[in-house]
């Protein structure tokens, strides 16, 4: 059930910004018998508010995917169970005391009118990090960097990625999700090689379908390895035939960097 666009009467909305290391979670969304970020955070919020709440996130991240800045909202009754106003200014601090360090609350504030964490978002920014060739990943950087044993050519990565920028039907790169559109506007897909020697992709779009980033990274990596020419990306994009799951790059290199609102 999709939460209502605005809080029910007698309730108000809180916007919560947070980050997480996705390594030990089965992704964002609640699932039976799984430790997920949503279920962990909902329990923590229930612990100190004594209210059962539902979190709605800007985007559902997969198992193993990280977030530098994820955004969610939840609704609370105007007064607490003792009839007192909430001390929202203490929410972030209280939550951080309850949660383990792999989830950190950046802020919790009353949401503006008509704010909806998912539907008010105008763009999402993801990054993907790869240590290619024979580079070793520094142990403290291992949680958000994927290792790829072949060398990836930066110019070819970018040439291939350029075919994906713009408004397209990205069905080729999306796991089927009944009823969801696969038409998206990819505003940015930029590669660079950092001073650490590792490759980093920055992707910004109005939205990403399920597995879309990791599929696109896998496809342009094929080009960067020399298996295909950059134009192959244009061909498969236009085909709209879902490419092989074997081209999905691992979750651990993927981080939701930020969400932009109007």
């Amino acid at each position: 059930m999709e939460p209502t666009l605005n809080p029910e009467s007698g309730f108000f909305r809180i916007r919560i910004d947070f980050s997480y290391d996705g390594t030990n979670f089965a992704g964002w969304a609640k699932q039976p018998d799984q430790v997920t970020i949503q279920s962990t955070m909902e329990s923590a919020i229930a612990t100190f508010t004594r209210e059962t709440i539902t979190l709605t996130a800007a985007g559902r991240t997969d198992a193993g995917v990280h977030a530098a800045q994820q955004v969610a909202h939840f609704d609370l009754p105007n007064l607490d169970r003792d009839g007192n106003p909430w001390a929202i200014e203490n929410f972030a601090y209280k939550l951080n005391r309850i949660l383990t360090e792999d989830i950190r609350i950046i802020s919790a504030v009353p949401a503006p009118n008509n704010f909806h964490a998912r539907f008010s978002a105008i763009s999402r920014h993801y990054i993907y990090k790869i240590a290619d060739g024979l580079q070793t990943i520094p142990p403290l950087a291992r949680f958000d960097t994927t290792s790829w044993y072949r060398e990836l050519d930066l110019d070819r990565l970018q040439a291939a990625s350029n075919y994906l920028i713009g408004k397209h039907d990205f069905a080729t790169f999306c796991k089927p999700d009944a009823g969801a559109t696969t038409i998206r506007t990819l505003a940015k897909f930029n590669w660079e090689r950092g001073s650490d020697g590792f490759l980093r992709a920055d992707l910004i779009s109005d939205g990403f379908c399920y597995s879309m980033v990791r599929n696109m990274v896998g496809a342009v990596a094929c080009v960067a390895e020399g298996r295909f020419e950059p134009e192959w990306i244009k061909t498969i994009l236009n085909d709209k035939t879902r490419i092989s799951d074997s081209l999905v790059f691992p979750a651990r290199g993927l981080t939701l960097q930020s969400i932009a609102y109007q």
Copy 2:
């Protein structure tokens, strides 16, 4: 037993540079019934060389302390058990295949004459990272940053630390270690606040006694909090009376950054 300064006849020496996340290790040095970095690496080297070897490191790091670049050496017979020369150029790759990702071999090369990982080192560089005040630590940075709930004033940190720079008897800051000198030359003890908002100390010395960095950080933090004036550091340094263990800052903020050789 201290290893010989040079390899025995019929043996040659290998220098190995590596990094580790110390979170899940009981420090560098071998100890009964403990998983240490030394024991883990010695087992891994024995697995593919079929030789029992002993590693000598530039410095023994404590439980929970990390290394961006640690250096060690070990000696091997000139030929392997099949009578063949060693393919040293493959050692780093082979070791990285055996080890888990919290230890990564940067390089393994034949050591120059008279090279001794510990005694040839002319200086050690450590860093210490602190998120002070109410700052939250991004989950992916949590492994090598210490949280300190009070705000620490950068100018007072530096003023206090300046009293420690130079050649001194650092007995005040060293856990007793029979027979070991506590006279050291601290060439650098510099604090900065990074763009992430966190404090970082860089310390360079010809050597550090056991717990010396974490004790000095704890002491200058007392000054930065306003509990003492910077001159207090000069007083306790000259007293040479070991300060309280309660002033030892946690291991997880400490990283051995590099070792310099002649």
